[in-house]
Amino acid sequence: MKEKIIVMLNELNEDFKNYQGEDLLKDHILDSFAIMELIAKIEDTYEIEIDADDIMAEHFKTADGILELVEKYTGNRI
């Protein structure tokens, strides 16, 4: 699942490929518009609906954070 999320992040911003930092938001790899696109892709791919309350900056700082959020909904089923 992590690979798929990484592919999605790469599609959103090619800079993600070489990104070594610790905060995708702070470093402008992701912005609010990109988060919106990412959520839409994740929801389509995994057939889930992420609760708006869960869309918090702390989940979008790293790929692992995003993965953790998705796993909350998929229950590790994929």
């Binding site: 959103l12 911003n13 090619e14 800079d15 070489n18 938001l25 402008h28 992701l30 912005d31 609010s32 518009f33 988060i35 919106m36 696109e37 959520i39 839409a40 708006a52 309350d53 869309i55 918090m56 900056a57 979008f60």
Partner: protein, 496 residues
């Protein structure tokens, strides 16, 4: 008698001294304090012997920036804000055009070059004698410059739009009256201070006594928290770019937070607002006023407006409406005649809101600030926006497209030519072309040459603000050409 924008803060500070003027995270300032701190700064500037000179404000977005704006205005000089996140190369280009006589900053590292600097410190600033400021202040009239705001320029050099006190005063008078803003209102500010949408938040607040909340940037990435912030702080009015409104709507946050009791006005400007998301907002705040404002930086934020008064299907265009007070709209065809019904023409503006031209750039000024072709009796400049529009059956203006390669991306106006000029200057680049993908809202750069992709990205990042850096670079062995030897943009557009 004082006839410049500072008279508003005098009046408001007298009328509502203890009202909160600005809230910035844990900090806040009353109108009395705001005026006092602005005067402290003005005194320091006056002591430096500066009058009617450009002063740069270089610091991160905070309430201190507004103290600086007002301090500069009280001193009879004019300001330009330099975004601290902007790449140094771009800051440098702006500084070269502006040639500031003073740079007010909170930065400890020296990014300012040779110019005189003033180290800003809110806590320690004190006023020794208000009288010192009075003379210069009284000699500043409404025709003098208030600010210079830099926008993207196709030659690679940002253009400095000059705006007078009068333009802002006339615009804010109109905002106050049209949207009935009062002291009991409060603004939820989204716009960066280098973006002219912020003029509405800042100066309407100062004129009316309404509070202005600087919304922490991080909240725009967590929409439920953002709406809770609006609700908890009783924000009545927001003026955001459509991108921010779209994100909130698409991430279903409007269903989570009840805003109908607090939020009264939702104004937007800067790019096209899609009806689908607008309708979601309207459903959530049934009694709210929703208004689509339109205007380039050259016309003091906005020059037309449309207050949404009927239902729109998703596919219908949302009008940009009619002229705001103090402006007059001329829609001119290629022969410089007014267009007929249904005919498309260029939106041109005249009135008190138009800029005095680009700072230190006569050539660019002459291109777009031109004599009104319908008036051969006396000198009267109009601004040619480069936007194509037409009238609908209600007599409202509809935006059609740009005449050139300028785009609106995430609320920022960008000349694709600026990116192209920059990339063309790189070694090992033979040719390049920038295209905007309207569907995915992305800037795409096509390049021809041996340059390595990583180098191009690094070069762009060193020279452009992050929102101007293309999200995709496509290397091609040859760029498609039209019959008359120009890059075939249409073909590239179709290929994405």
């Amino acid at each position: 008698m004082i006839n410049n924008i500072t008279k508003w803060l005098d009046e408001t500070a007298k009328k509502y001294p203890d009202n909160t003027a600005i809230v910035d995270g844990e900090r806040s300032v009353t109108f009395w304090e705001l005026r006092y701190k602005a005067l402290c700064l003005a005194e320091a500037i006056v002591e430096k012997g500066l009058f009617k000179e450009p002063i740069a404000v270089m610091m991160p977005k905070s309430m201190d920036v507004i103290v600086c704006f007002l301090g500069v205005a009280y001193s009879g000089n004019f300001y330009s804000v330099i975004d601290t996140e902007m790449p140094p190369a771009r800051q440098q280009k702006i500084m070269e055009t502006l040639e500031p006589r003073l740079i007010i900053t909170t930065l400890t590292e020296d990014k300012t070059g040779d110019a005189d600097t003033y180290q800003y410190d809110y806590e320690t600033m004190e006023l020794s004698c208000e009288e010192k400021v009075i003379e210069q202040r009284e000699r500043t009239c409404d025709a003098d410059l208030l600010y210079v705001l830099f926008t993207s320029g196709s030659t690679g050099i940002p253009k400095g739009v000059t705006i007078t006190h009068q333009s802002v005063m006339d615009y804010i008078d109109w905002v106050e009256e049209t949207f009935d803003i009062r002291e009991s209102d409060s603004f939820g500010n989204q716009a960066p201070f280098y973006f002219d949408n912020s003029i509405l938040d800042i100066y309407t607040s100062i004129k009316t006594g309404a509070a202005m909340y600087i919304i922490p940037q991080i909240l725009f990435s967590q929409p439920v928290s953002l709406l809770n912030y609006l609700k908890e702080n009783g924000i009545t009015t927001i003026f955001w770019v459509p991108s921010a409104l779209i994100v909130v709507a698409n991430l279903r946050a409007l269903k989570k937070v009840e805003l109908a009791q607090t939020l009264k006005r939702v104004l937007f400007c800067g790019e096209v607002m899609p009806n689908k998301q607008l309708n979601m907002w309207r459903k959530s705040i049934p009694d709210g006023i929703f208004a689509n404002l339109y205007g380039p930086t050259e016309i003091t934020d906005a020059c037309t407006y449309y207050i949404v008064d009927r239902e729109f299907e998703d596919s219908e265009p949302l009008p940009i409406g009619k002229a705001a007070r103090n402006t007059d709209i001329l829609v001119l065809n290629e022969n410089n005649c007014l267009v007929g019904e249904g005919e498309t023409g260029e939106l041109c503006v005249r009135g008190t809101s138009i800029s005095r031209g680009y700072y230190n750039n006569q050539e660019k000024t002459k291109e777009v600030f031109v004599q009104n072709p319908l008036n051969n009796k006396y000198i009267e400049y109009i601004y040619r926006t480069g936007d194509l529009v037409k009238y609908n059956e209600y007599g409202e203006l509809l935006y059609v497209s740009r005449k050139d390669f300028q785009i609106k991306h995430m609320g920022h106006r960008i000349e694709l030519g600026e990116i192209e000029t920059l990339v063309s200057g790189m070694d090992e680049i033979e040719h390049c072309c920038c295209i905007y993908d309207n569907v995915r809202n992305k800037i795409i750069l096509f390049v021809m040459g041996a340059a390595v992709q990583e180098d191009i990205v690094a070069y762009l990042k060193n020279n452009l603000p992050y929102y101007m850096v293309p999200s995709k670079i496509i290397q091609m062995s040859k760029l498609p050409m039209t019959a008359n030897g120009k890059i075939d943009r249409k073909k590239l557009q179709e290929s994405i």
